[in-house]
């Protein structure tokens, strides 16, 4: 059992390490290696899910101690329970489809073997985070993911924006990661163990302040990785990477990691209201911010990126109102429909060679399958019943409603905050999704030349992803699979009547409004573009002003200090000694009589001094 768990993890890791050694021209071998390893992993993880959920083997641990620091042990261990296994399956499935899709998408890319190996490494890092039974091991996976995101976002080395975007993703998430590492250390030292299960089980024995501080530090890392305000700025820029990578980062890995970690360590967050309150406020801000920014983007991928920011905030909101099962449910459905959306957008990019919606239009007839897939994805994103997105979003809103009324867990005003922000975001989501749909697939076709035919592999991936997008919610909830897997059989993941009606009305109104405006001028942008929205409230500029420039200034000062003060002191000593020795060497005339004169003079002076004193 646990060996299978290790294998799920080790196969993509092995494929990655082997893949890095492959020569550039061995693309067929690289494709077979990476896809094959992930396919086996996927099958194994599904088998694990069946076994774990079959109740006989719940909460299975297997660990090897790596190092001991006094009483603290660092172990490499995996923990298999409903939560970790379900998320692992989602990671494997999305990553596998991304790998398959990439084979076709990067057909003309010379560095495909390197790319495939990096994707495998990325996947295995996420699996490490998901399956880890030890906090230090989790941090290791967390950090490898950071490196991989840097490598993959900067994949197109000849695109000038790629490098700054990759550096930004790395540095911004790194800012949060420092908090994350400190949080893990605070927990580990406070609890005397890095074992996740032990820490969460014995949370009552810890001083509340320790837990609160640790949780707040962890939230910094979560905000960084999951692109939550104020560390969300890297995600839209990360769009310069290849589209399948966007799908991978936005759906199953990276941004999901933060939510997963909070769900995993949720007992810690329940000790005091403060961390969840902070998370709730962050979630409310991020939700609206992301949705508003998505409304004004012209680049199809940037619309989806901002939509990810806003949807991840739903998950944070679900966590903030004390229902991790709802958050994880939304994580799973979001993984399916966001991967579908990105891969469909990738097909559009591949066929037209363009990314701006103002240069698209009327693609419905030219790309029927992509159109259908995109429609499914957008409908799930808006949350039209009975698609998966509807149920998971209503689960979050329902939980917020419960909390707001005071009958759920968490603080009531946080519940209200998340609920109101969530409902507003529902409307905004419907608006930007409709805008994307109409601008891309309807209106007059703008392509003069024939579209590039999309390979079957890419279309096939879309079809496979459409299945969970449509069916994950209804089927999962119908037989109580998901709640059981997530260890919360009594939590209502079903829609709440009030919130459902409200969000239905709001999204219907938003869709109708956007459609009505669009009908009047089908080739114009139905949402009048506002610079403040398109630039996401100038948060990049604010960040630049508040953080980047002072930091640069400080860096310059430090460099100057080093150059002129530290180095200056060292070189000054050397120069002074050299000058002094030059002066003194003048005394060495080689003339014995001079020496004798000096000796005599000195003796005379000394004698006079001795007499006088």
């Amino acid at each position: 059992m646990s060996e299978i768990g290790w294998l799920v993890l080790a196969l993509p890791l092995g494929a990655a390490l082997a893949g890095f050694l492959l020569p550039q021209r061995a693309r067929r071998l690289a494709a077979i290696l990476s896809v094959g390893a992930l396919a086996v992993s996927t099958v194994l993880s599904m088998g694990l899910a069946v076994r774990v959920v079959g109740e006989q083997e719940r909460g299975l641990d297997s660990a090897v101690t790596i190092a001991k620091f006094g009483e603290l042990q660092v172990r490499a261990g995996i923990h298999l329970d409903g939560l970790s296994v379900v998320v692992a399956v989602a990671v494997c499935v999305v990553a596998l489809l991304v790998q398959v899709y990439s084979v076709a998408y990067l057909r003309d890319d010379d560095s495909y073997p390197r790319y495939a190996a990096e994707v495998s490494l990325f996947t295995s890092a996420m699996l490490i985070v998901v399956l880890a039974a030890d906090l230090i091991m989790l941090v290791v996976g967390w950090e490898i993911m950071g490196v991989c995101s840097y490598l993959l976002i900067g994949h197109y080395r000849d695109v000038p924006e790629a490098r700054p975007a990759a550096v930004k993703a790395f540095v911004v998430t790194r800012v949060g990661d420092i908090g994350f590492l400190l949080g893990v250390l605070v927990i580990g030292i406070g609890a005397g163990s890095f074992d996740i299960m032990m820490v969460t089980a014995n949370v009552g024995g810890l001083p509340a302040e320790t837990v609160v501080i640790a949780c707040l530090l962890l939230l910094a890392g979560v905000a960084g990785k999951s692109a939550q305000f104020p560390l969300h700025t890297w995600l839209p820029d990360a769009m310069v990477g290849p589209t399948p990578i966007s799908a991978l980062i936005h759906a199953a890995t990276m941004v999901a990691a933060g939510i997963y970690v909070v769900a995993r360590l949720f007992p810690l967050f329940g000790v005091d209201a403060l961390p969840l309150t902070v998370l709730g406020v962050i979630a409310a801000i991020t939700m609206l911010l992301g949705a508003l920014a998505a409304l004004a983007q012209d680049d199809i991928k940037r619309v989806l990126a901002w939509s990810t920011v806003s949807q991840i905030a739903y998950m944070s909101g679900g966590l903030a109102v004390g229902v991790p099962a709802a958050a994880v449910f939304h994580l799973l459905t979001h993984a399916a429909f966001k991967a579908l959306l990105f891969l469909a957008a990738g097909c559009v990019l591949y066929a037209t060679g363009r990314a701006l919606m103002s240069q698209m239009g009327g693609l419905r007839d030219a790309m029927p399958l992509t159109f259908v897939a995109m429609t499914c994805g957008l409908a799930a994103l808006i949350g039209l019943p009975p698609l998966s997105g509807f149920l998971s979003k209503e689960a979050v809103l329902g939980a917020a409603y419960e909390t707001a009324r005071g009958s759920g867990e968490g603080t009531a005003w946080v519940g209200w905050l998340v609920l109101v922000a969530g409902l507003l975001t529902v409307g905004l989501t419907a608006a930007y999704a409709t805008r994307l749909w109409l601008r891309t697939f309807f209106g007059t076709a703008r392509e003069k030349t024939a579209l590039k035919p999309v390979p079957r592999l890419m279309l096939g991936s879309l079809v496979v992803l459409a299945v969970p997008t449509l069916a994950l919610g209804p089927i999962g909830l119908r037989s109580q699979w998901l709640p059981n897997w997530l260890g919360a059989p009594d939590v209502a993941l079903r829609p709440e009547a009030v919130t459902t009606v409200l969000s239905m009305v709001l999204s219907a109104a938003a869709i109708a409004a956007v459609a009505a405006v669009w009908r009047r001028a089908p080739d114009r942008d139905p949402v009048p573009s506002r610079a403040i929205l398109a630039r996401a409230f100038y948060l990049d500029e604010i960040q630049d002003f508040l953080v980047v420039r002072p930091y640069r200034w400080l860096a310059t000062e430090v460099r100057d200090y080093d150059l002129y003060v530290v180095d200056g002191a060292v070189e000054g000593y050397g120069n002074a000694a050299g000058t002094a020795s030059n002066l003194l060497s003048r005394l060495q005339t080689g003339n014995v009589q001079t020496y004798a004169t000096v000796v005599l003079g000195t003796a005379a002076v000394l004698a006079i001094v001795a007499v006088l004193l």
Binding site: S585, R586, Q588, G590, N591, Q593, A596
Partner: protein, 105 residues
């Protein structure tokens, strides 16, 4: 007797010696100046020996030692001077500045 006469004579002699050592260019003259200084000391030793009426005559004994030492020193010194003359064809002390520190830059 008046010790002052002997002491002043010795001081004059010594000063002449010092001047010779510091100022004369010829190495042989420098050696001779050293002899002058030694003998100035000898005069002091003998004079104080008499003036203090030392029963053991240690001053005179020392003077004898110094004379012997001076003889040995002159032997070695002159040998060096001769060798220097053979090598350099000069005995001017200020020309023998092989050990000068060459000035940096």
């Amino acid at each position: 007797m008046h010790i002052e006469l002997a002491v002043v004579l010795a001081a004059l002699l010594f000063s002449i010696g010092v001047y010779g050592v510091l100022a004369r260019r010829n190495a042989v003259l420098v050696l001779m100046s050293i002899e002058l200084m030694l003998n100035a000391v000898n005069i002091n030793l003998v004079a104080f020996d008499v003036w203090l009426r030392d029963t053991l005559h240690s001053g005179q004994t020392f003077a004898l030692f110094v004379v012997a030492l001076a003889a040995a020193e002159v032997g070695v010194g002159l040998a060096i001077v001769v060798q220097v003359y053979r090598l350099r064809a000069t005995v001017a002390v200020d020309d023998l500045d092989e050990l000068t520190e060459p000035a940096n830059e």
